[in-house]
Symmetry: C2
Subunit: 155 residues, 2 copies
DNA sequence: TAATTAGTTTAAAAATTTATGAACAAAAAA
DNA sequence: TTTTTTGTTCATAAATTTTTAAACTAATTA
């Protein structure tokens, strides 16, 4: 395993900050970052542990989380026990899809709010709320419409 | 201050879960929820404290955060010291705007990743990365294009 | 079969985040 | 001027999250 250049460390940190902002835990976020910037597409458990200076269990847990999130997958070389982990191509899609679902749920909640009697009697409040619902719906629709835009290897 | 119906408590909880998912702290998220579902558009410090059973300092801190985020504003009744807090109409826009900025930053980071030499030599990896960048850019563009879609009271 | 490899699981330590209470401040009222 | 109201600030308590170390498992090798 290459040892990380300063530039790569910087990129991992930047990627990490973004992933953490959307709820991923720090060490898991760094694993995603490493897999993104690494020269090798596939890294072993030990590569990850050494490159990021993490404990075995932190690596193990991060990888299980990422596999559950369908962001990471692994391959095994024939006749070898050790696995090689890599970013699942187009794995970010699943993340986008779950964001979409979340947004739709929130829309529904806001619609319940809008149906509260008192709210309908306050035009300014009602309008602002409707605007927010409309925006979430547009965002949802945009994501859905473009879900098929990028070529996608067979699942 | 009305005491909260079960339905409103439920809505506050649901709104809270969503806001927490995008990084807001729990008590602050509940304040947003309360202001959304409350019959009254404007609530006093004490109303909030009582309705949500929060300490003074938790209310104070939550309100400062929300005011800084431009999600909440306050009015004062003439000749009164106490302030009344309310959701800033279209305040959710500022939140969307800062999300947009974040996304743009992440795009830039991913573009730096894409420019790493090794990556250009692995077509599958490069394609997936480009797909993610394209999607973030589309999302960003959609949000930007529609920023002016909803009527907006004078700032 | 015994030892090694490649991880997983779990209990607890460490770090971080969130909420609270108490002291404080500034304006208004008495 | 003194007291009350309406908050703010800050140190710390409480809760939660994150990381680790150590014990464990299952496959592989010797």
């Amino acid at each position: 395993m290459e040892s990380l250049s300063e530039r790569k460390k910087y990129l991992i940190e930047r990627i990490g900050l973004f992933q953490e902002a959307i709820g991923m835990q720090p060490s898991t976020a760094r694993v995603i970052g490493l897999l993104l910037v690494s020269d090798e597409a596939e890294l072993s458990f030990e590569d990850i542990q050494q490159a990021l200076n993490m404990s075995k269990s932190a690596v193990s847990q991060s990888l299980s989380i990422l596999i559950t999130m369908r962001q990471v997958e692994y391959v095994t070389l024939p006749g070898q026990r050790r696995r090689l982990f890599r970013l699942k191509p187009y794995g970010w899609r699943h993340h986008i899809e779950s964001m979409m679902e979340n947004m739709l749920e929130y829309c529904q909640t806001l619609q319940m709010v809008a149906s509260l009697k008192q709210h309908q009697e306050d035009p300014a409040r009602a309008q602002s709320l409707m605007g927010m619902i409309a925006m979430l719906e547009l965002l949802h629709k945009t994501l859905k419409d473009t879900a098929g835009t990028w070529s996608y290897p067979a699942a």
